[in-house]
Symmetry: C3
Subunit: 138 residues, 3 copies
Amino acid sequence: MIFQKEISLSPFSKGFHIITDIISEIIQSSGIETGTAQIFILHTSASLTINENTDPTVLLDLESHFNKFVPENQPYYQHNYEGPDDMPAHIKSSLLGTSVHFPITYGRPNLGTWQGIYLGEHRNDGGSRKLIITINGK
Amino acid sequence: MIFQKEISLSPFSKGFHIITDIISEIIQSSGIETGTAQIFILHTSASLTINENTDPTVLLDLESHFNKFVPENQPYYQHNYEGPDDMPAHIKSSLLGTSVHFPITYGRPNLGTWQGIYLGEHRNDGGSRKLIITINGK
Amino acid sequence: MIFQKEISLSPFSKGFHIITDIISEIIQSSGIETGTAQIFILHTSASLTINENTDPTVLLDLESHFNKFVPENQPYYQHNYEGPDDMPAHIKSSLLGTSVHFPITYGRPNLGTWQGIYLGEHRNDGGSRKLIITINGK
């Protein structure tokens, strides 16, 4: 069985945000009991990753790290048309990735106790972001 | 349905290169309408990622970033047998990844308007690179 | 066909470790000849990646790189409850990823000649780690 659905998210502020519940509800509606989920973001200045789901300081520290190690205003940036957050957003997107993948077991995301799904919004004003959820399974 | 095909690419210079058209043509030949694509590179000194498909300065700035933040000639590198680009290429491969994944919808890669598939060539003389395209779908 | 199995690994020391043989044996036991494998780690302070399978200095240099570019004791870290290796472990997990994916061909992992599957243990005392192997194929 294949299940596929596109969704649009409300705009997020720059930083990391937990979207596990939104994804989990769609997966449970698919009727697939065992398989793999692919969550794909249709953008090049936002990203998806999996990390700690409880302490909000993890999201803040992750944002601090990426702002330091993918800095704005580097002298070698040529792609700055949309402002200083433009090229760093593209780099963060490739570092973190445009998709996350996890197993489905008993009709639910089979994540670790402490794992949640993060959306990384890397623009100051990224607007609504679109995701496609595709599940292969039975 | 499962579709799988191995391809060899002509050698690329060090840096990032857009290979969307090559991948898209193979996917459209598979006959699979809905599903997921896995593009896998059989090497440890090159990578695959998804990023902006229009402005060539994004590819150049991405290369500049990785050359600065994964520098050559670090005092702690022990693996330098093949030259100063050897160990940085392995690190870039793990940072960016050896595979990209995206949905297939209506028989085509379902990428965002601005998304393209990049091959990252991290060696000065990497030669031909092999990919395996596998599609799960119906 | 879908195959899914959860396994627990013996504790690893901080650093990178090759686990190809463990994964390969499970994949060969699945009976699936052609498809895709998803290896998923149920933790937020360890990671999975694919890199060079022969020279042990690659594993050591990768560890040195990540210790330098994801440093401990940054002034902006707020999430330090479990020690100085806590937040860097979460960042490394997102940089490297919680899953690896590769094709299955003739019933085996279709990896490049020099590719192996790495587990990145990013805690000083991470304990046993759990993985879920899911294969879609035929």
